[in-house]
């Protein structure tokens, strides 16, 4: 199949002006704090994301202590948690719910959306498409600072006397709308909503920038069929985000109205605290529809960038082209489209019309097909490779493993008849933590290890990376795999304790195991933190292209400055996966090497492209018909 992309190159490159900009005197504040440089903004997102990841992890360990060691005295946490430790030395049940809520909110939005997408979309899009910077550096800066404001607001809510939001990260009303129903629905919920509103602004500013940059600022020759899969993933992610986050904003806004201005969008027929409320005619189900209209695409907002990063890393370290490049793009596109029409599978047992349940079940299970294609393509990429186990590669393999293990349980949950029993049990917890939480987290880790040399000009320590990987990989499985059994046994999630129920009295052993594994997993993240910060300053100096990768970010200097390339931006002549091409001298051919320089390895159709390669491309028309 020959695709024909026609580009007219008039004034795509403003490198001359940019070079002048590059020599501007910039002070500390403009360079590191209110920077408009995409690389600095990416690092800001990364560091903030790491902070949140650590906090989210610590919160989870606190509630795992309660679940794994229900008899343990938590008196020693009193200096930190104060009155949230009851007189008997136990965790307050409402604070337990607040911990669960904040763990979810932090991990989903602040770590895996902002920390992952914010870091790598920012860092890699301009570097991999060959642009000086994002389309709008100013908007990009705003994107980070809105995120920062959002983070501060959310962080402050942790210290309120009434506690942070406690209605679960899905904040279903009426619980989240009524302060008399749970303490966390007071000021904590207000701050949650404000923080999320700011977060959505940040995410939209970022997303629009990503889309614009990918479409408009690709370097000469960088047609869509030559984009690395990372960029495709970031592009789809940004589009999903731009289309779905406004719906969450609407949902949050209506909730604010219900909470503060007496409207009844979500509230009706409520008798609480000894009085019947005046709210009438609203529907709590409406909120769930609005929430999951974002909530489900959000899963892919979190996952797609991780899949993109790992595609790149697996191809590079297998020294093989990614198998089925176009199928990978196609399956991501298909997943992105389907992600908008499956949201109600979170609501099979909410009393929604059962007919809708049938439709959403059908659509949900279809999503398994492109997901399966992705897994098969990853496995085939490994086949007959020449695999180097760099820490980035290890984490990418971990991602594929989690994506498989966690994804396969989605076939149970997407089936409405089976979901009746499994809904809101630990089976669900196991499912989404593996497929979305851990897989994306591993994608993020893989990305950090792989692109650290480009971010900081130094290498991370491999041996510490191996230890970090193996502890985290086995740790994550030990945390989440046993939860399948607990879930099949019917244990409901968000339970402070199970001892009230005869039927849920078992599995204290597995729960203890899970908690111990969680503690070890969290502890091993400190190995990463040490490695990260130590290598940033004292790591081995990185070569320009440490992994022998083909994409053009590796053609920049060791520490790319403002504008990324000191001279002209390299032109691109080939797809990003020319690894181990038969006949080639090396086992990789970077994207900026023209076919005219590699006659020994060109495929027949590529030889025809040589005559279209011009050294000065102004006004030239490049027609490509690569067949990969």
């Amino acid at each position: 199949m020959a695709t024909t992309d026609i580009h007219t190159h008039h004034d795509v490159h403003h490198h001359d002006e940019h070079d002048e900009h590059g020599h501007h005197e910039t002070n500390f504040w403009r360079t590191y704090i209110f920077s408009e440089d995409h690389k600095v903004i990416a690092k800001q997102f990364l560091i903030t994301g790491i902070f949140w990841a650590l906090l989210g992890g610590i919160l989870s360990v606190i509630f795992r202590l309660q679940l794994g060691f229900p008899d343990m005295s938590l008196e020693w946490l009193r200096p930190v948690l104060g009155e949230w430790i009851t007189a008997e030395g136990k965790l307050d049940p409402e604070f337990y719910l607040a911990l669960v809520t904040m763990h979810g909110t932090i991990m989903v939005f602040f770590v895996l959306t902002a920390g992952l997408s914010g870091t790598f979309s920012n860092f890699l899009i301009p570097l991999q498409v060959g642009a000086r910077d994002m389309a709008s550096g100013f908007m990009n800066m705003l994107s980070y600072w809105f995120f920062f404001l959002s983070s501060v607001t959310m962080f402050v809510s942790l210290f309120l006397e009434t506690g942070p939001a406690g209605g679960g990260w899905t904040i279903y009303p009426p619980l989240s709308a009524l302060p008399q129903a749970i303490k966390g629905s007071g000021l904590g919920m207000t701050l949650w909503l404000v923080a999320m509103a700011l977060f959505i602004v940040s995410s939209l500013l970022g997303g629009i920038n990503y889309i614009t940059t990918v479409i408009n600022l690709r370097t000469r020759g960088m047609s869509f069929t030559r984009l690395p899969l990372t960029i495709w993933a970031f592009l789809f992610t940004a589009i999903i985000g731009v289309l779905s986050f406004p719906v969450l904003f609407a949902a949050a806004l209506l909730l604010i109205f219900d909470r503060s201005f007496g409207t009844s969008f979500y509230l009706s027929d409520i008798y609480i605290g000894g009085e019947a409320l005046a709210h009438d005619g609203g529907s709590p189900i409406l909120f769930q529809h609005l929430f999951w209209f974002l909530g489900h695409p959000e899963v892919y907002i979190v996952l797609l960038p991780a899949l993109g990063l790992s595609s790149e890393i697996i191809a590079t370290n297998s020294r093989k082209p990614i198998f089925g490049y176009k199928a990978m793009i196609g399956s991501m596109l298909f997943i992105a489209i389907l992600s908008f029409i499956v949201w109600a599978h979170h609501m099979f047992v909410t009393g929604m019309n059962p007919f809708l349940g049938s439709i959403f079940m059908l659509l949900t299970l279809i999503i398994a097909v492109p997901s399966a294609v992705k897994i098969f393509n990853y496995v085939t990429t490994l086949w007959k490779g020449n695999i180097r186990f760099t820490p980035g590669m290890l984490f990418s393999i971990g991602l594929v493993s989690f994506f498989l293990t966690g994804g396969i349980t989605g076939i149970f949950l997407g089936n409405s008849a089976i979901d009746i029993q499994l809904h809101d049990t630990y089976f669900v917890v196991a499912h989404f933590h593996l497929v979305m939480g851990s897989a994306s987290f591993f994608g993020m880790m893989a990305g950090v290890y792989h692109w650290f040399p480009k971010m900081f000009g130094r290498m991370m320590d491999n041996r510490l990376g191996y230890i970090h990987f193996w502890l985290t990989f086995t740790g994550v499985y030990l945390v989440f795999f046993p939860m399948h059994y607990i879930g099949i046994a019917g244990f409901p999630r968000r339970y402070y304790s199970w001892t009230n129920f005869e039927i849920f009295s078992g599995f204290t052993d597995l729960n203890t195991l899970v908690s111990v594994a969680a503690i070890i997993t969290l502890a091993s993240q400190f190995i990463f933190l040490f490695n990260f910060f130590y290598s940033m300053f004292r790591g081995r100096v990185a070569p320009a292209n440490p992994w022998n990768a083909t994409t053009i970010e590796w053609t920049t200097p060791r520490n790319p400055g403002h504008g990324n390339w000191p001279g002209e931006i390299p032109s691109v002549y080939r797809w990003p996966y020319d690894y181990s091409k038969p006949g080639a001298k090396e086992d990789y051919i970077p994207q900026h090497i023209p076919y005219s320089e590699t006659p020994e390895s060109n495929l027949p159709n590529e030889n025809e492209l040589i005559k279209l390669e011009t050294s000065n491309g102004s006004g030239a028309i490049i027609v490509e018909g690569d067949k990969h």
Partner: protein, 357 residues
């Protein structure tokens, strides 16, 4: 003091670890250790993946078979048997796929680990392969979807007319049950604005004559082998009825009554005998986060033979009889009927004087 010692101890350990790391780094630099060269670490990682694969799959199968009785919950409803069957069919299909893909992946990882001088195979695509693994999952999924849809349609189809009608009401943090009574078998109308703190916890509308014989229970009694239609509502926030042995789950939504129909197949006693545990009771839990006491919303469920169930029902006092003050709210024209239906007046027509308020 102790905390200071612990703190200093932790600092000391961290410093030692840092020194060890520093020294080993320097030694490797001095030795001319080269990170660029792919050496033994690569082989170790590849081998560890095999160890991981064998170990984790072994543990998975061993635990799944050895502890089968621990993590499976006996099923005691008609549709539950069907959904359980679907669950285990899906389990069979997915475990086969999971094991094959996992083994293939980890074997590839091990087998194709880096070897000096070997060149990877340039294999960018193969349309036959791609077509095959798009179509095969699609067919398998189509079968699963089809069977699932049929089960779902059966479960959610309308209940039969003579189904046993029972209402479950969720509130923070307890369940209550309302039975329609033995005389009319219809639940009386309710309105949340009529709920008060003095006894009318259901918000019963006493102008509706169906409400007169309704009675309240703090245990859920169910007849065996008879279709039950649970009417579910919530008073304050979302709750969710979860009857794990019957594979029943349905949210309780304020302002939007929901329902679930099912047929229980084993009485409490039968289940006790089956489990060899004479203290066993069916239980109902809440599975939608509802606040502080979410984890304690338990209700005991008692399943009886139909005669015993009818007898139990007949022995229950109507709510109106227990709260005779509310007779005031009954329209005058209906008062006598109300007293008769609520069992406050023995026999219609005869000895009217016996009314006690």
């Amino acid at each position: 003091m102790t905390s200071l010692i612990i703190f200093l101890g932790v600092v000391l350990v961290l410093v030692i670890l840092y020194m060890i790391y520093r020294v080993s780094s320097l030694v490797s630099i001095a030795k001319g250790y080269d990170d660029d060269k792919i050496g033994t670490a690569n082989k170790v990682n590849a081998a560890l993946f095999m160890v991981f694969m064998v170990g984790s799959l072994g543990w998975f199968f061993w635990y799944s078979f050895a502890y089968y009785d621990n993590y499976t919950m006996p099923v005691a409803s008609e549709h539950g048997k069907h959904t359980d069957l679907l669950f285990w069919i899906t389990m069979g299909v997915t475990v086969v796929a999971f094991v094959i893909i996992s083994v293939v992946m980890f074997v590839f990882i091990y087998k194709y680990q880096h070897e000096e001088g070997r060149k990877a195979k340039f294999f960018p695509d193969n349309h036959h392969l791609e077509l095959a693994w798009t179509i095969i999952p699609a067919i398998v999924l189509a079968v699963l979807i089809f069977t699932g849809l049929r089960a779902w349609n059966d479960i959610t189809s309308p209940a039969s007319k003579d189904a046993e009608l029972i209402e479950v009401i969720g509130q923070q943090f307890a369940w209550t049950v309302r039975y329609p009574g033995v005389k009319d078998k219809e639940l009386g109308k309710v309105n949340y604005k009529l709920i008060d703190n003095f006894g009318n916890e259901f918000g019963l509308d006493l102008t509706d004559k169906n409400s007169f014989d309704d009675f309240k229970s703090l245990e859920l009694h169910l007849p065996v082998d008879k279709e039950v239609l649970l009417k579910i509502r919530a008073k304050d926030v979302l709750h969710s009825v979860f009857l794990p042995h019957f594979r029943v789950k349905m949210d309780a939504v304020p302002g939007m009554p929901t329902q679930f129909k099912f047929k229980v197949t084993k009485t409490t006693q039968e289940m006790r005998d089956e489990l060899g545990n004479q203290n066993f009771n069916y239980e109902m839990a809440c599975t939608e986060i509802c606040g502080r006491g979410h984890f304690s919303m338990k209700m005991t469920v008692i399943v009886e033979e139909q005669e015993a169930y009818e007898k139990w029902k007949a022995s229950q006092e109507a709510w109106l009889k227990q709260n005779p003050d509310y007779l005031k709210k009954v329209p005058n024209a209906l008062k006598e009927a109300a007293m008769i239906k609520a069992g406050m007046q023995r026999d219609p027509g005869s000895s009217v004087a016996e009314v006690n308020e």
